[in-house]
Amino acid sequence: MDFLNALVALTNFVVIPALAYGSQLALGALGVTLIYGILRFSNFSHGDVMAFGTMWVILTTWLLQAAGIGFGVLPTALLALPVGIVATILYMLAADKFVFSFYRRQRVKPVVLVMVSIGVMFITNGIVRLIIGPGRQSFDDGGRFIFSVREFREWSGLAEGLALRTTQFLTMVIALAVMIALFWFLNRTRTGKSMRAFSDNEDLALLSGINPDRVVRVTWVLTATLATIAGVLYGLDKGFQPFTYFQLLLPIFASAIVGGLGNPLGAIAGGYIIAFAEMTITYAWRRVLGHILPEEWLPDGLIQVLSVDYKFAVSFALLVLVLIFRPTGVFRGKSV
């Protein structure tokens, strides 16, 4: 019985939050890895592009709420999602046309494009703060729980409770659907295959008659879509604040690099690895261990390796370890 309680506590405090957070990171890392694989640079503007997309979704959500339109138990933000995606796609295509394409035509080194993306990051950051402000915004509505702690306790009769929030559940379901759709696109469609070919061998792709401009355009469209979805899911789960999205850049890049830059499967694996690492290292294990270990074995402290404030240190440490011991990542990405 105690073991069961430990398992429930672990699921409630570590597994479910880590799965949700990991899904958000994975979607973010997929965008980063696509840009790296096809356009061959690390896109530092990704976090703020996520904020940009989420901002439009929040604004549209408010508009819908003011008009009295809801989505039942689901958050209204899902209705507003297409607006945010379209806005972000247009924004990224404009950024490519007016900023990135100029440097691409000059065939600059990847590091120059990284610098350019930092410029785009600052601009995007400024736009978001100008329009919606630097403060924290909450925009989730609809039903809060699929099942709550109280409902679970009554159903199971256990001392420990388990809750599944609607946003966590939605995050996992939507992330899974998006990943399946993305892989179907990359592996089964003509355009998707041409993107992989372009990523594999740019010169040969050109010789095969693949249109590079089209590949670049589709890449931005996919990236903008992934960024907006990732941003909205994160915002629904944990609240929206522009600075937080900027900070997300570190765990997202850690995910992409740990999994293997340029490899979509690696980005997904990396997202969950980083999320579970952050959660297990910053979680106070006393509660779970209290159910399993005998009283006298239990230490006095919280049995927490690092405080939650240091969660970014976990992704950073993992990133450094992977770069030292397996620089191409778990799934063997590419290194320029």
Binding site: R196, A197, S199, L204, A205
Partner: protein
């Protein structure tokens, strides 16, 4: 074509003049380089329909450069490239692919993370019709590729990769197939095998233009041989005649 397109070479009987009509593909009096000094000096390369033309010569003779010039990867200061009698000098390499030229680079000539079948599909990217039949022909030409169709091309051996590379190029149903040192880095057995396949391709009516380091073996299967020295045509004749020429043997084939 009335004008003799033989350039500065002593031997008579260019394929073009012999037949009296324009060859399938001809790069005529090509002069140019990569920006600095000229590498090619009035160099002429031609291939007839269904024939094999081989470019040989010492290191740094401009063999690959001549090939790239014909394919439009090099800006010509002088000279013309004509395909089926049509001037294509100003076309980009991509546009030449659409016109029926296929090019197999010496290195990085496959998509390593994609399967063999996907490599072939990408070769046929420009085609909107059914590619199943062409793919079947490639599999008949290179049976090993059929067995490995769902394997990543980067995991194959050197010889098999070259087969993928040639197969990819054939997927556009080209009229001319250009190969840049197809046997570089493969074992002698695989080399013989590849040459056999290349002859088979030529028998289907596709013209073949290739640069080869293994001059002796390449000239043995060549209808036409071009010996380049310092970007100039030095000898031009049928493969057999070049192999028999004592001067060519002494200077370029090691006796």
């Amino acid at each position: 074509m009335s004008r003799a397109a033989t350039g500065a070479k002593p031997s008579a009987g260019n394929a073009a003049t012999a037949s009296g009509s324009d060859p399938m593909l001809i790069g005529e009096h090509m002069t140019g380089g990569y920006g600095g000094a000229d590498i090619l000096h009035s160099c002429t390369i031609a291939v007839e329909k269904g024939q094999i033309a081989v470019i040989v010569g010492p290191n740094g003779a401009g063999k690959s450069t001549a090939m790239k010039a014909v394919f439009g990867m090099l800006k010509l200061r002088e000279g013309h490239v004509r395909l089926k009698g049509r001037d294509i000098t100003t076309l980009t390499p991509q546009a030449r692919v659409a016109e029926g030229m296929a090019f197999v680079p010496q290195t990085s000539n496959i998509f390593p993370s994609m399967t063999v079948e996907e490599n072939l599909e990408m070769g046929a990217f420009l085609r909107r019709d059914d590619i199943g039949e062409t793919m079947e022909q490639v599999y008949e030409l290179f049976p090993i590729l059929r067995d490995k169709r769902s394997q990543a091309a980067g995991e194959l051996s050197g010889g098999q990769r070259q087969q993928v590379a040639v197969g990819r190029a054939l997927m556009t149903k080209p009229s001319v197939l250009m190969l840049d040192e197809p046997t570089a880095g493969v074992s002698p057995i695989v080399m013989d095998e590849l040459f056999d396949r290349i002859i088979e391709v030529a028998r289907t009516g596709i013209s073949i233009l290739m640069v080869e380091q293994n001059a002796r073996q390449a000239l043995a299967i060549a209808d036409m041989g071009y010996v380049l020295v310092q970007g100039r045509n030095r000898f031009t004749d049928s493969g057999q005649a070049l192999l028999a020429d004592p001067e060519v043997r002494r200077s370029f084939l090691g006796g």
